[in-house]
Structures are given as C-alpha cells and as structure tokens.
Amino acid sequence: MSQVRVLVGTRKGAFIFTSDGKRENWEISGPFFAGWEMYHLKGSPADPNRIYASQTSSWFGQVVQRSDDGGKTWEAPGGGLTTTPEGFPKPASNRFVYDTSEGTGKPLTTHQFYDGKPHPWEFKRVWHLEPSLTDPDTVYAGVEDAAIFKSADGGTSWHEMAGLRGHGTGSQWQPGAGGMCLHSIILDPSDPKRMWIAISAAGAFRTDDGGVSWKPINKGLYSQYIPNPTAEIGHCVHHIAMSPSRPGVLFMQKHWDVMRSDDAGEQWHEVSGNLPTDFGFVIDVNSNDPETIYVVPIKSDSEHFVPDGKLRVYRSRAGGNEWEPLSKGLPQSNCYVNVLRDAMSVDKMDPCGVYFGTSGGQVYASNDNGDSWTAIVHDLPGVLSVEVQTLP
C-alpha cells in the first residue's frame, strides 16, 4: 500500500509525518533543526528519499540541508572538505551570490524599496526549493531579494539564473509585506524548458527556454493598490498552482482576487465568485481532478486571520467562481489563525488528500478531497510550509 510523507516547515524547526494510504494514523518525527526557521522542505520527484530543506535565521543566515534517506538524517551539502581534490576552493551550499559576471550575469543595480526609493539587492533567505522532475541533483531556489538560483550538484553550489532579475523590469520590483520574495516555482512536466515563478510584489513570470529569458505574465490582473492597477508588473501575487496533469492551466491567489489562466499565463481572469473574501495566501489543485481547487480565505487588509473566527477551506469543483465552504473537523469558533502561502499541499492518492498548516501550529489533513478534516498535530510552532510526498 502507498505511503504518504508530509514535510512541515515551522518557525522553530521541521517535522515529518508519515502514514499509510488510509491517512488516518500518523507517525511524527522532529523537530529537525530545532530553533531555526524552516521556510520550506521538498522532496525530489525523481528520488523521493532526496529531500531539500531551507534552514534560515536572522542571526546566522541561510543554510541548505539535504537528506538522502527520506528525512531521517541530514547534511549541509558542501559542508565537508573546503577544497576539491584538485585544490580549488569548494563552494558552500549556503552561498547565494547574485550573478554579476560578464557573460551570464546581470548588473546588480537596484530594486524599489517600500517607499519607492532605489534599494540595493541583498540576499536574505531561500523561500522555496523546487527539485527537478527528473534529476535528484538539480534543484531550484526562490530567494529574497527576489531571484531564482539553480543547483545541479545536489545543493552543493548555487548559480543565479540572472535572466529573470535582469530581464528589464527588475528595477521596478518592490517588496510585499513579507519581503521581496520569489515564493512559487512551477516546472512544466510536458516541457522541460518551461517554468513559471511568482514574486511578491512583482507578479508572475515565465520562461520558455530553460531560464535564459523571462517575461512578465500578468495581463488580466487588477491591483487597485498600485498606481496603475493593470501595470505589467507590481502585482502582489501570493501563490500560484498548477495540476501536473494539465500543464498550462494555472491558478493564482493574489493579494486580493483568485485568478485563473488557461493559456500558460498569457491572460488571467478572475474566478473569486462567491468567496466570502478573495484575499488569501494558499491555493492548490486536486491531484485527481484539475478543475477542483482549494483556497483559504483570509480577512484583510490588516487582520490576516480567517473571517468570523471560523477556519474554512473553500473548494471549487468548477475551476473557480462557484465555491463551497469545507468546515467539517475544522474549528468554527474563536479561531484566528492564518495559512501562509506555501502551507498547503495535496497527495496523489484517490481520493485526494489535502493538507495545510496554520500560524497557530496546527496541521490539518483531509483524506477525502476536503470533505472532512482532522488535525495531525495541534501545537507546533507557526507553520511556514507544508509539502506532501506520495510514496510507493
């Protein structure tokens, strides 16, 4: 019978939950890297025992960790000898340096700060790690200040794909409230040269040539809080999601508005429909039905907790516009948690399992497409990310 492994990043460490295909009883391990902010953990689709993790701290900076045994043991790749057998300096796995080299790089220049003034690019942390669909040693990192890096040696060394930051609009990018982060990376299973990324608060971008060149894909977005609400860039995209079974159909939770694109991001249209509020962070797609999508509406602009003290996932079975609240098993009074942008995921079982973590440290799971929910844990540190692996 298949197994499910849930990788949870929190503000004070990482945790791993495992269960059989019934997804009723869970074994919990952790905390790993106790006391560190674990922004994201994700397993390689090509080798599920290879897991990458972003470990970060305001004091000590960024570390990338890697496991080759499904999360039982970890190492910082590149943390061994300082020189190669040839005597050359060995790169450190936490060395994220913007590429300004002649030929492949772009001038560092500036982006805009909150007040609109030019601000130098400064690496702060890795928000998201996206392993290759085919090669366990290849992994992409979305970082703050926004850029995408690639490692082709299992996370030992990292190189910026500078075409994104330098494609032309970078000097106009501005941070969102959480920082100027590149938080979403989606790889196209039907085209290895195509990928999508999203930046808060710049918008969504796509490459069709393996990351050499990029273009903004924000047509149809409307953001009333920026000077030109339909600008090419400047939109606070919170998360984007895509079903691997239907490449090119994208769903987006923007600061306000839930959006959909049927043409790989060339044009977006709003599908917020009857949601109680179209603000939120997470969005994900059912693994068996690409028209079934999930969001967690959040009260904003200031509160950033669920409306009316009730934690409700909203599901659309029509690809948007028509939404139903899912509340069975979720707290329906005195609940004031948030669900952050990378803190929802789905498994590949049938019926589809849906998982999300909250700022209050609960991780909820549904083994029936979202019809009902149970808390795997109640009292973790605030949850930053949730990813799920479906194992043979």
């Binding site: 305001s58 004091w59 000590f60 900076g61 450190a92 060395r95």
Partner: protein, 98 residues
C-alpha cells in the same frame, strides 16, 4: 591553540558540543581565527560573516577578555590571553526581543 566559543545554534550546525580549539598561525587576528574556523567547519561559512564582503553578520558580536571586539579591525591582533589559550574568543548572538 585558540579557543572559540560558538553560540548554541552554530554549535549544532557544526556538530560540536563544546568550545572549538584551533591551530592558528601568528599573528592571531579575528580574520585568521575565523578563516581557521571556517576551514575546519565549512558549514559555518556565511553564518558568522558574509561570504563576499567578509563583514560580520549584523546580529553577531565578538567578545574576549570582557572586551567587545565587534567593531575592531578584523586584522587587529587579538588579546594575548586569547593567543595563549587562557581565554576564549566568544562569538555571541545579539539578544533581540524580550
């Protein structure tokens, strides 16, 4: 022998439980001690000082012999008591919040 005391999280990262003892050629400076520390424990590269600028990370401080060395030149000689191994060099995470 130079003794270095790391903060809790860096001890965990380097997988050491106590203070670190390093061989450092004279002149013994902050820079030479950190170079030796990072050579022994590469995972600490970038966690105490920036990879490129080699500047101290903002929330870290250096102390020895009850003196704050955080703002000293990285090439200034460390106190004799540190060089002789009588006193350790302390790498301390600045306390923020309550």
């Amino acid at each position: 022998m130079i003794r270095v005391v790391l903060p809790y999280h860096l001890r965990n990262l380097a997988k050491v439980s106590n203070e670190v003892v390093l061989e450092v050629a004279e002149p013994v400076t902050l820079r030479s001690v950190l170079d030796a520390l990072e050579a022994r424990y590469p995972v600490l590269q970038g966690t105490i000082r920036d990879h490129i600028s080699q500047q101290r990370r903002p929330f870290l401080r250096f102390f020895a012999c009850e003196e704050d060395l955080s703002h000293e030149s990285p090439d200034a000689p460390l106190p004799d008591a540190v060089v002789s191994g009588k006193e350790p060099l302390l790498v301390i995470g600045a306390i923020a919040g309550g």
